[in-house]
Amino acid sequence: MAFDEAKKDFNLIGTRPARPDGIDKVTGRAQFGADKAAPGQLHAAILRSPHAHARIKSIDTSAAEKAKGVKGIVTRADFATGLKGEMWNKLENVMAGEKALYDGHAIAAVAATSALAAKDALKLIKVDFEVLDHVTNVDESMKDGAPVIREGAAGPSTPEGMHPNVVGFYSSGHGDVDAGFADADLVIEDTFTTEATHQGYIEPHACLAQMGKDGKGEVWCCTQGHFNVAKVCGHLLGTEASQIRVTASEIGGGFGGKTEVFIEPVALALAKKTNRPVKLVMSRSEVFRASGPTASASMDIKIGMKKDGTMTAGRGVFRLQGGAFPGAPGTFTAMCAFAPYALENVSQEAYDVMTNRPKQAAYRAPGSPMAAFAVESVVDELCNQLGLDPIEVRLKNASREGSKASFGINWPRIGLVECLEAAKAHPHYSTAIPENGGRGVSCGFWFNHGGETAVSLALAEDGTVSLSVGTPDIGGSRASMCMMAAEELGIKYDDIRTTIADTATLGYNEISHGSRVTYASGLATIEAARDTIKKLCKRAAAKWGIDEDAVYWEDGFAKPSGPNAGEFEPMSLAKIASKMGATGGPIVGHYEATPEGAGVSFAVHIVDAEVDKETGSTSVGRYTVIQDAGKAIHPSYVEGQFQGGAAQGIGWALNEEYIYGEDGRLQNAGFLDYRIPVASDLPMIDTVIVEVPNPGHPYGVRGVGETSICPPLAAIANAVSNAAGVRMKSLPMSPPRILKALDEA
């Protein structure tokens, strides 16, 4: 779908009304995943593997079954058999089969009359493990002799002769890379690593499930995609998705981590076994050990540049571990790596590697931030050694409309140059760099996504509107949906109420991922409102006794289209709605589609950082985010997404990492030892919204939720490297790593 010209004259779009869910959130009235309760509910707990890799020889639940309060226990035997491919992998992750594949892998689950009774009963389950050799490092996992996680997991793209832990491969590029390097005045080649991090959402995974003897189930859970929960639960329980109605609760953060399904099938299996509602809430430790952190990466980058800043060639090899299952986002890493640059000669390869770690999940723009870290670090070093301005060099080589992207397409209208120009013009860039400090700049790129979407918009007799969408509100989308519906209908923002409908109410809606909600649900909302307007005009035409084509809609009123149509008093939405029962029945607009016009998005970040060379600690002094939003519906939310991505990037760059011991067990499964940034670690994060309209959306919207985390790792690394006087090649740049780098310099 393409819209020839984005709408430009707005009443509400671009303003900053109060969020409709704000009062519920600050008064505690909002219901999150763990807030739901049902009469007679049981509480569940999950027994998890203490080993990184072990064969499960037997599970004896007899003693636990007799424990006080225990009503049911499930193991893998209680789930569907015969699954293949993706759904088999999901089941294997939700409940271990023949082997425990990582520290924290679920082995069995208990439902009891209290959470304490369920936890106590776990201690009575006897598991006979045969402990196996393990591997948690991506490079080690690819070597000959590394423990094999699972034979036969490799996908069709994997080259022959690779270790069985290598399960996916991607390569692309164009031109003659070697000739490009030969043409350069300076070539820099280096290796970079990033560690796995967690999205760090406030709310642990939680659900309440029930399943009757009639085979019909209900789930209430915090998720980014409740339709997907129904689908996965249906497969894993051996029933149909349509038999499981799922309602999404309020969500305390997701950032990609709640696109996966971990506990809902377990709660449903226990509910089915006990014929009672079952509540299951992960502890923070379980979230770290057994939900989905990011992949970690090992990357080789080589870039050539002429003295005038022209980049002549780029090559990247990316190795990403995604835990004990296929799916590490190396393909995206490779595709995003050189996306900001119009290179005549470029090649990229990526390997998807399994290790004995939890299955990775998306974390805002999966795979892109680490790519930017590696590539943008080399670009920064080239600029330093050639004495060139980092923004001018990026402008000189920037991707733009019509230039060939590193992954093969010719770019449509994109906003990278506008972002770079805005960065160059920003006061931050012309301010002197603090003494003992360094400045870092980076570009970042993400694709964005459309996806299956259905929306319904119903009028009430009082002239207000109930808008039902199927995408959980993970970033303020209810406000944006209200604004877009009100803009089209010409009524007040407060007269729209947006609800996240359950899976039995709307057609299938894809997960809230890919920065798709404001784009896709927004587009569907606009089209549903336009469908409603047609019906409103028809009612007015019938009342006036004229052809419906002779009626148009303006500012909330049906009006005759001209003198020939007749002279009639404009009829408001509220007036038409008040009589709708007697004039043809309820008025409901709807729209269902898979919008395919999600516009890509670029960002540029500028960071000033200071490094204490005695302690190795870093402080981020000033931070500016410039990003193309296409059209900002509610600028405060857009700025919030920009700032959130930068804040999470600061954590990823400076402190956050999954630390595994020699025994393959996670050493820091809690916020005391896994340090996310707190308020005192963060500067004011300034934002600039660039608006290069996306022709695939009626208002020009581009998704903004993910691109904001693409540049920070690189921008901060460049600032720290420039402050410390030594190139930082491994994240996080925690004090010990900085001190080590300074010692080795």
Binding site: G173, I409, G597
Partner: protein, 86 residues
Amino acid sequence: MSQKHKIEVALWGGLKPFADGNDKVEVEAATTGQMLAAVIKKHPALEDHIEAGVSVAVNGRVIASSLTEPIPEGAEVVIIPQLKGG
């Protein structure tokens, strides 16, 4: 539905071994679905890769999954890995 016409489809490098060493495939189609089916018919070894999920870029616009998108004559068409996000 519009008439089928000749389309040159670019593949990502990793698919070359499954397309008899070609990085471009010429087929006749009018939509994304017809194009993918024609590519598989010409190079059956690509079926596993395409069925596992791909996206298609038509004149730079990325079509994540739709099989019904029209492909205009003379369009630049590139098969890329299937996109999703966080």
